[in-house]
Amino acid sequence: MIRFSFIIIILFLHSFITAQCDTAYDSNQSSKIANYDISVELDHKNKVAHCHQTLRWKNTSLDTIRSLRFYMYMNAFKNMKSSYLKDSGGKIFGRNIADRGTDEWGHITINKMLDEDDQDLSKNTKFIQDLDNNTNDETIIEITLQNPLLPGEIGIYEMDFTTKMPKTIARSGYSKKDFFLFVHWFPQVCVYEQDKDGIWGWNSHQFVPGTEFFADFGDYNVRISASDHLQIGGSGCRISESKADGKQIVEFQAYDLIDFGFVVYSEFDVHTSTFQGIDIEILMPPEHCAFADRYREAVEHGLEYMSANVGPYPYPKITVVDPPVHALNSGFMEYPMMITAASFYGIPKSIRSVESLVIHEFVHMYFMATLASNEKEEAWLDEGFVTYYEDRILDHYHGKKSSFFDVLGYRSGNAENSRLEYIKLDHSRLGPIARPGWEIKGPYKGLIYAKTSSMLRTLEGLVGIQSMDKLMQTYFDAYKFKHPKEADFRSIAAEVLGDESIGFDLDLFFDQCLHGTDICDYEVVSIDNNSEQSTKVIIAQNGGLLFPVNIEIIYQNGSTAYMEWGGTPGQKIIEFEPGTNIKAVNIDPNCTINLDINFNNNSVTYEPNKKPLVKYAAKSTHWMQAILEYASFLF
């Protein structure tokens, strides 16, 4: 009895010590449609999790629901025939994944699903393939209900399922020294929603490349039982932890999430801190501990900037997972309240890949976790918005010209880099931004991330940063814990910016940028001061995008004038009084139209600054001399 009391006290103390998060935060922010109570028994030796989940799903539609659909993403890693892998050529993120033993594949199986009348529904299932009719793809399962759910009713289901982890292919999986990343690991209900025409139905796309999240908000209680040599971190807050007989049980609680992920490893160093009342937990392998401060600072920058400019961070905690290098394919990803970064021993501070990645994934806590757009159908609404803020945050804290890298006198800003990623694209071939992920073939990142962020930066240039911030704050406030779509963002933009005051057609702006492939390229073609009839300046818009733009005219007498131009495609002749002496013409002198694919041809001057030309010619001379000396060391 004494021993039993002692254990209880120890357990209580332990739970007390390891409890995380400010319990005072608002735990009732979403409509809580899909709620999960999951117990996980991790068999790390066999890479299997035996799980039980209680699902509470609310029918918020006007339909009677006769079947439920679930994401079964782990089945994408069952073999090479899944829709995710069949066209991968055996390589994911450049690494060979096809040559593996049978026990290195993964899968998920629902062993039992009881409704409230204890009827087992798991025998009446079928896999759905809405995108490609690939019958080998088992990433969406439909389960027929014995008791249909009426509008407003809540269904409660007890489910036993087994998740066999694959040796890491993309994100989910296991690696050496008992590393496990459990993401997209449980049967998760798809979204029952209205389509464009107002018809209710399941939005349940298969797991294919270029697609990630779309799920309803809800509460999660997840208890993980695992060997006590492992460290466990995850979405949500750790509310209790106990250890006995070589086992540990860790319990996580999370409110208003669209997903839940967790990570397990035998060698994590754990770094915890608090910033603006938010718990920051960084889990990293010991060889990366030199990055701990960089990670923490990056998260703090993200928190500070997003809270000040978009809205308060809606959760009490953020977990940053830095996977060891053998599990690198688990990195570069966002989950609600948990992000996976990636770093490599020895990356110097002057190369800010660590910071940009952490900040990028952190911003997903706003665009993905909170504004939970359909990432499969409208990826630009999160990846593009995230890149826009990643650029802003990096530039704000590390300088516009050096926030991406600053090495030996060569430097680049993060936003500058995003624009360069965008101007690299072959626009007409690649197609528009606003398309589902599975339709985009080619440089996905350039289109979805870089073009969208360049579009938003252009909008910022046109309306000013204050209006842009107001737009984003209003959008965040109106649609947090919802599933905003393009039309929602555009209606907020119209409401906040208003067409008249900004001097251009906002609808046309979005139509062109999101649904078109036109480019923008202003050019000053010539200045003619010598014509007898009039002084002539020829300017051009070599692309098709229509933005109003400022033109700076600099006269020989040193005075400057500005004029507005609608930026209509083709050439335009501007005539001045005969004898007017123009020294230079500069279109968009402050480079506000970030979508302009060439800033160099935006100006012509009669008095060019030749010093940089001489400087870089001399540099080339010097580099050639150095190359010759080094190349001839054996000659």
């Binding site: 060979n96 050496k176 020294k177 392998p285 060889e287 060891p324 290098v325 053998h326 021993y345 010209k401 030996l408 006198g409 060569y410 430097r411 500058e416 880099n417 624009r419 360069l420 101007i423 690299k424 390229d521 230079a584 500069n586 002198p589 694919i597 800033f599 160099n600 041809n601 935006n602 100006s603 012509v604 001057t605 060019p608 600054n609 030749k610 010093k611 940089p612 030309l613 001489v614 400087k615 870089y616 010619a617 001399a618 540099k619 080339s620 001379t621 010097h622 580099w623 050639m624 001399q625 150095a626 190359i627 010759l628 000396e629 080094y630 190349a631 001839s632 060391f633 054996l634 000659f635």
Partner: protein, 283 residues
């Protein structure tokens, strides 16, 4: 030790005209590339106010906008480089050969440098081919061995730390091979200058390396150290000084040329150091 360094430095100064000749040859090639770079930049952005953005230092967008919107803009520079480098390398055999001759025989002057350099061109080309072959075969062999042992390095090692350390080890091993090959090629050329026998000089070079293994390596690493320090100082001093005034541009150019000249000097130090050791060696 100080005495020895002073002696080596004095001998380098004795051969300053030959060293300067090599420097000037490199300068001519450099200026050709410089002129092509100037006219390329002038063609594309010579009238643009974007040049002002380069005044305060490097601006990636100016260069990337140029390259991404004008595919092939840099091809005149690259093509000229590809043509000029091999031509220079041939000239280099003559220039270095002449310098080695003057150091070994104790002569001085550009005339003897060029005359003897031309005389040794064919046999010295032979040493170059052998050296390049040795380094390529060894490096390729080590790379292949590493790949066969390690496989996918990111999966084979428990962390990237041992992976990076293993890569550094390979770089170190290759650097030993490069240093020894370089030492061998210099000594073999000295021997050829003295004996006129290609095969005997190859043998003498090998015997020298065997006997003076450590000393040769030390000289090699000293030269690498000098080059790295020079590069570090270059980036520290010249780095990216911008182009805000003609004075700054001119100082930058002057500094660059001092660094270029010093690079050739380092080569002279290497040759003379090996000659000092070789003096005491009967091969």
């Amino acid at each position: 030790m100080l005495q020895r360094i002073k002696h080596i430095w004095n001998r380098v100064l004795t051969h300053r005209s030959e060293v300067t000749c090599i420097y000037l040859f490199q300068l001519i090639y450099g200026v050709v590339i410089g002129c092509i770079s100037y006219s390329t930049l002038d063609d594309y952005i010579g009238q643009s106010m974007a040049l002002d953005r380069l005044s305060s230092g490097f601006d990636r967008s100016v260069f990337m906008d140029l390259i991404l919107n004008n595919s092939g803009a840099l091809s005149p520079i690259v093509t000229s480089g590809i043509v000029l480098i091999p031509i220079y390398l041939l000239f280099s055999i003559i220039l270095q050969g002449g310098l080695l001759h003057n150091i070994r025989i104790g002569e001085r002057g550009i005339k003897t440098q060029l005359r003897n350099g031309i005389h040794y061109l064919i046999p010295f080309l032979g040493y170059v081919c052998i050296s390049v072959l040795i380094i390529l075969v060894f490096s390729f062999g080590i790379g292949l061995l590493y790949k066969s042992i390690v496989g996918d390095p990111l999966m084979s090692f428990s962390s990237e730390k041992p992976f990076i350390h293993s890569l550094l080890l390979i770089v170190f091993i290759i650097s030993i091979i490069v240093n020894l090959t370089w030492g061998w090629s210099v000594v073999a050329r000295y021997k050829y200058i003295e004996s006129g026998s290609f095969w005997a000089s190859i043998r003498s070079g090998i015997i020298f390396i065997k006997r003076h293994f450590i000393k040769t390596l030390l000289i090699g690493y000293l030269l690498i150290g000098l080059h790295l320090s020079l590069a570090y100082i270059y980036f520290l001093v010249v780095g990216d000084t911008g182009a805000s005034s003609w004075m700054i541009v001119a100082i930058g150019i002057l500094a660059q040329q001092v660094f270029s000249w010093m690079r050739v000097i380092i080569r002279g130090i290497g040759y003379i150091s090996l000659d000092q050791i070789e003096d005491t060696f009967i091969g």
